[in-house]
Amino acid sequence: MSMRDERHDDAFDELIGSVAKALTASEPTRALRSGVRERIGRRGPAWSPTAAWAFAAATVLAVVFAGWNFMRPVEDGRPARPAPARATSVPPRQPALETTPSIGQTAESRAPQEGLAAAVAPPMEEESPLIPPITIEPLSTTRIAVNESSEVMPIEIEPLQIEPLQLSGQ
């Protein structure tokens, strides 16, 4: 490469450099700094160890309370948690509730069971029937007379007459 070429390369490189520099030679407006200032001023501290500890403590308390509530025993004949939906599918009359109390079973010990049964069992309808029972008479059926089948004539089959093959040339 000659000295003249190098000079031209340098000139073009300088031109490219100056144009590229001019493309980013701009200053930010005051709005940038004031906008940041305004936005961080509204929020207060960006990161606070105190806030982090408070959040952690609140989380632990919430977990402990939820666990205690979950594990709480049954009080006053009512379950701590709502009865599951399948309790509603219990048949109307449960034999266990109708049986006589066993020996040694006191009224106090039966009370929670009765309370529970009252909560889940539907009202008893048999005590005061509003509609009289319907009596259904059995249907009288008559036997249908079927004629005996007539005699079927046997089919006579004649045996086939098969002649032996005659081979030519014999």
């Binding site: 073009f12 980013t24 940038l32 700094r33 961080i40 960006a46």
Partner: protein, 223 residues
């Protein structure tokens, strides 16, 4: 006793305490409006992490031009660059707790703004805004000369602008960042997350491509 922030040296913590204590006990020197410029970025970061907006404002004042120009190099539209720069500072403010001090605040904020700018550029809004010709965004300075030379120079500069615009984003980003005069090559490497050698190659390749394009337009000595 306060816990040492993760990734920050003890001497820095002690220095910051001394600075904070000086501000708290000596009102004549404390406001630090005049002296705050002598405080290092690391000290300002520590104060900002404790929720001091003035310290963070000082960091913004120090680095806003570098941050804004990085965004401008990527986006080429002043309004977008300013919006992204502001967004980057807000994100940095929110993430100060996670800033470990492995790199300088300047490097950290430059990486944030660059990622935000690239994300913006990839979005639909950025794509639409790029339809704006680059020459309308920032006019390169034209040297005064006689009439014929002036027109010729203006035309040549316009061709250089369009040749830069025609570069691939990777080459153009490296060229614009390097030529802005704001960043060292190693800073550009960290911003773009590429090796230093790749930065140098991209800049050289960008120049070569521009010269090639100029030669194709009839500037015979450009190649």
């Amino acid at each position: 006793m306060a816990a040492k922030p993760e990734g920050v040296g003890w001497e820095l913590v002690i220095g910051s305490w001394e600075f904070a204590a000086r501000c708290a006990t000596d009102p004549t020197t404390a406001p630090a409006r005049g002296s705050i410029e002598r405080v290092t970025d690391e000290e300002l970061v520590l104060l900002a992490r404790q929720g001091d907006p003035d310290a963070f404002d000082q960091l913004v004042a120090r680095h806003q031009t570098a941050v804004y120009r990085a965004a401008l190099a990527a986006l080429r539209v002043r309004e977008d660059a300013e919006e992204v720069a502001q967004d980057a500072f807000i994100r940095a403010w929110k993430a100060l707790g996670r800033f470990r001090g492995d790199s300088s605040f300047r490097t950290w904020i430059l990486r944030i703004v660059w990622n935000r700018a690239i994300s913006h550029r990839r979005g639909l809004a950025g794509w639409l805004r790029r339809a704006t010709p680059i020459a309308d965004v920032a006019e390169p300075a034209t040297k005064a000369g006689d009439g014929h030379t002036g027109v010729h120079n203006a035309q040549l500069q316009a061709h250089v602008v369009s040749a830069i615009q025609a570069l691939t984003p990777k080459l153009r980003d490296a060229l614009l960042l390097a030529q802005s005069g704001e960043y060292q090559y190693d800073e550009i490497a960290q911003m773009l997350s590429i090796p230093l050698g790749t930065v140098k190659w991209r800049i050289s390749e960008a120049r070569r491509k521009v010269r090639e394009r100029l030669a194709a337009l009839g500037y015979v000595d450009a190649r």
